[in-house]
């Protein structure tokens, strides 16, 4: 089954994550012979986007991989050479917990089934039992057909589910790179239509543009001026401005506190624009504010873009450019190990083949342990939810970014991205909610406080199995119970009920901070997996560093030609345009042949 590959390359890239793919494209673009491998049958590694079926298979495969230990390959090497086995130990996904909140058949009582894998959190009791249907909900949903497990599985193609959802700043590194390299034409994007924040017990849209600020009814004229003034000083002067001199070792919050801002303005700046916690340094806060403002006004209402069909499309775009310039692609092909001689990596072993190389670019999931100096402690907690409505109902479909700061110590700020059907993340009538934060405990524990706040996930109900007689009241009780208290949050809930979670998945991913040891061969270049940042800048910058280390004097991804600019060898001008005329007139054919003949003549000269 194994296809034989050509055996000599300038660059072998292992893993099709974001950084690896950018490096592969950059090397191929300047004419280097590139081989790009991935042991998976899909592109992207931990950056991948799956349809529903693909995601299920990915989960299955992780289970299978855990049970059968990888066998080390034994390879004959020449004198002076050393063989190091590749390892997948740095790409371990943990605490996968998948839950359905709907039944197989919409007419049957709602069943909560649970598919806990690996070291699950073990809170089976609340969810194991069967739960009766939410008749109340059925009525409310009017003529809309109920979503069932079967229906979601049947429409698996309409889902695009991201392992590492990320946004692009409209003037961030990736957007600039996509445009300057002309790779942008492979992808399509949607602008994030609103940045939301949680204030006074409810979600509100943050005014981003000047027009938004002035149209906003929740801030007074004085506050508007205050906000514009503050933003202008961040924007125009940056963190090195004397304005911030006194705050070099202080936090951004401390700086804001000196500005006599009203609570609303302070909230907008801290939580929506700078996405800062009370520990964020003044410098970081100013820089983030600047980054945000810089990207405004280029595309849409907010500074952010989302790739259609998911973040996993972007590595594939770079891979395509690599292939277009001659890069060889082979999925389902594993790196068995590397052959090292003195301080150089000479070749890799893959599927019984020995492939010689000048440079090896390797994703962190494949690095031989012998050359790793330290493994970072940071990990990512992820939650993915399919819901029945938006967290913040609007007149039109929205693409929403929400930054939710910790409520108390021991929690991490959570980034929430809500995608609607127009991004191709899910079918009409559904929403896809992604939550991401730094890992403290398990993904489920870490995200629980945010899930509780914004979503209605049955698992969080304190009661176990319910019978049909009280299901009606129970269903609405979480909302009604607090009416008397009359706080804004509760009132809002009655008007806009929380989205019902139909399906959820929690997982922990490794974050990227592996360091290679000093003794590692100098021509092995490490690429990290997804990081905790909102955008792709880390990957782009890392790819630039790797490329500069390999080819210090070469251009990084110069602009690729447009189709109209491609001129064939021996062709003086682009060929005659086929103008279609009427079929059957046949003139174009003849014209083509004449052209061919004239070219032959040219060549013979």
């Amino acid at each position: 089954m194994e296809d034989d590959l050509p055996t000599e390359y300038d660059v072998v890239v292992v893993g099709t994550g974001m950084t690896e793919s950018i490096v592969a494209a950059a090397a191929s673009r300047i004419g280097k012979k590139v081989l790009h491998l991935d042991s998976n049958e899909y592109y992207g590694g931990l950056w991948a986007t799956f349809n529903f079926d693909g995601l299920q298979k990915w989960i299955e495969d992780l289970k299978a991989a855990k049970s059968d230990g990888k066998k080390d390959t034994i390879i004959k090497v020449e004198a002076g050479e050393n063989f190091l086995n590749a390892s997948n130990q740095y790409s371990a996904v943990e605490n996968i917990e998948e839950t359905w909140f709907i039944s197989n058949d919409a007419d049957l009582p709602v069943l909560t089934s649970k598919d806990t894998q690996t070291d699950g959190s073990g809170d089976g009791a609340s969810a194991e039992g069967s739960e009766k249907s939410d008749e109340d909900k059925v009525e409310k949903k009017e003529p809309v057909k109920q979503w069932s497990i079967d229906r979601i599985k049947k429409e698996y193609r309409r889902f695009n589910i991201d392992l590492a959802p990320k946004l692009l700043f409209a003037r961030g590194e990736l957007v600039e790179l996509l445009i300057s390299s002309n790779i942008a034409r492979y992808a399509e994007f949607r602008a994030v239509s609103r940045v939301a924040t949680f204030m006074d017990g409810k979600l509100t849209q943050v005014p981003c543009s000047r027009a938004d600020v002035f149209a906003n009814k929740t801030v007074s004229v004085i506050e508007k001026r205050m906000l514009m003034q503050l933003l202008t000083s961040c924007m125009e002067q940056g963190a090195d401005s004397p304005e911030f001199d006194g705050f070099r070792d202080k936090t951004f919050l401390e700086y804001l506190n000196t500005k006599n801002l009203t609570p609303i303005v302070k909230h907008y700046v801290m939580q929506a624009i700078a996405m800062a916690t009370d520990k964020t340094s003044c410098r970081d806060g100013v820089n983030r504010t600047k980054h945000f403002l810089n990207s405004l006004g280029r595309y849409g209402n907010t500074p952010f873009l989302w790739p259609m069909y998911g973040s996993g499309e972007l590595p594939q775009c770079f891979c395509r450019l690599c292939a277009v310039f001659g890069g060889v692609y082979c999925l389902k092909r594993q790196l068995d190990g590397v052959i090292v001689c003195e301080d150089k990596c000479r070749a890799i072993i893959t599927g019984k083949q020995r492939l010689a190389l000048e440079h090896l670019v390797v994703g962190q999931g494949h690095v031989p342990p012998e050359i790793v100096a330290s493994v970072g402690e940071q990990q990512i907690s992820r939650g993915i939810f399919i819901t029945d409505r938006s967290i913040m109902q609007g007149e039109k479909e929205n693409l929403t970014l929400l930054y939710y700061p910790p409520e108390k110590n021991g929690q991490e700020p959570v980034t929430v991205i809500e995608l609607g059907p127009s991004t191709n993340a899910c079918p009409q009538g559904l929403f896809m909610v992604h939550m991401t934060c730094k890992r403290i405990n398990t993904a489920k524990d870490d995200l629980e406080y945010v899930v509780k706040k914004f979503l209605r996930a049955e698992v969080l109900e304190p009661k176990g199995p319910r019978d049909s007689t009280d299901s009606h009241t129970q269903t609405v009780s979480p909302d009604k119970r607090h009416i008397q208290e009359g706080d804004a949050e509760t009132r809002d809930l009655i008007k806009n009920p929380k989205p019902q979670v139909l399906w959820s998945l929690y997982l922990n991913l490794p974050a990227s901070d592996i360091k290679l040891s000093n003794s590692a061969p100098s021509n092995i270049h490490l690429c990290s997996g997804p990081d905790l940042d909102l955008d792709f800048d880390f990957a782009v910058n890392q790819a630039k560093e790797v490329f500069a280390a390999m080819y210090p004097d070469e251009d990084f991804l110069p602009r690729a030609p447009d189709p109209e600019e491609i001129v064939l060898e021996g062709e003086e001008a682009p060929g005659p345009k086929f103008e279609g005329d009427k079929p059957g007139e046949g003139e174009d054919k003849q014209e083509g042949e004449e052209k061919q003949d004239s070219e032959k003549a040219e060549k013979e000269e």
Binding site: A184, R320, L331, E565, I566, P576, K577, K595
Partner: protein, 229 residues
Amino acid sequence: MRNIRRPIRFRTKDNMANRGTAQRPNGQTQGKICQFKLVLLGESAVGKSSLVLRFVKGQFHEYQESTIGAAFLTQTVCLDDTTVKFEIWDTAGQERYHSLAPMYYRGAQAAIVVYDITNQDTFVRATTWVKELQRQASPNIVIALAGNKADLANKRVVECDEAQAYADENGLLFMETSAKTAMNVNDIFLAIAKKLPKNEQAGNGGSSGQGRRLAEAEGQKATAGNCCK
């Protein structure tokens, strides 16, 4: 298998003013311009790139390097009142080790699945590409089956009737083609152009998924959902 390959060189045209607009040499304006993404599929060496080069450039080379440097090529076809602009994507060799990326099919409104009439395996493989498209691509995609290398009729192993029957069963357009002699090359693209829906929504500015494309020139606000190529 092809072992001698001629590289395609590219150069940048000085005048870029005409980019992105379909033009007729006589300057006549057309009523409607529709842009479609068309993808080519099929086994290595069946002549995918040759078909495109014949169609787009009117050229044929016996030993053709696939498509170095060509992300996709464009060509326009004029129907009665409509100009159809094809954005033609080649596999760039990613099919060789069965590693074609799903982004390749994204938003494609048309596909040509190519096989070599002198090679039975390539026909079998073509049927699996058709299945793959039916599974992965958008449900309304127009698929054409092309039995290429029709000039090599003396080495034929795939019968025309067999392929026609398969195409009929699966609702595909079908033609035997020859990139070498140009037989049916323009015709198959024309047949696809005719079959594509040419309403306002389809092919509106080439933004197939109705998302936004990023471009250099764009600096100011634009309405979401517009293509700004």
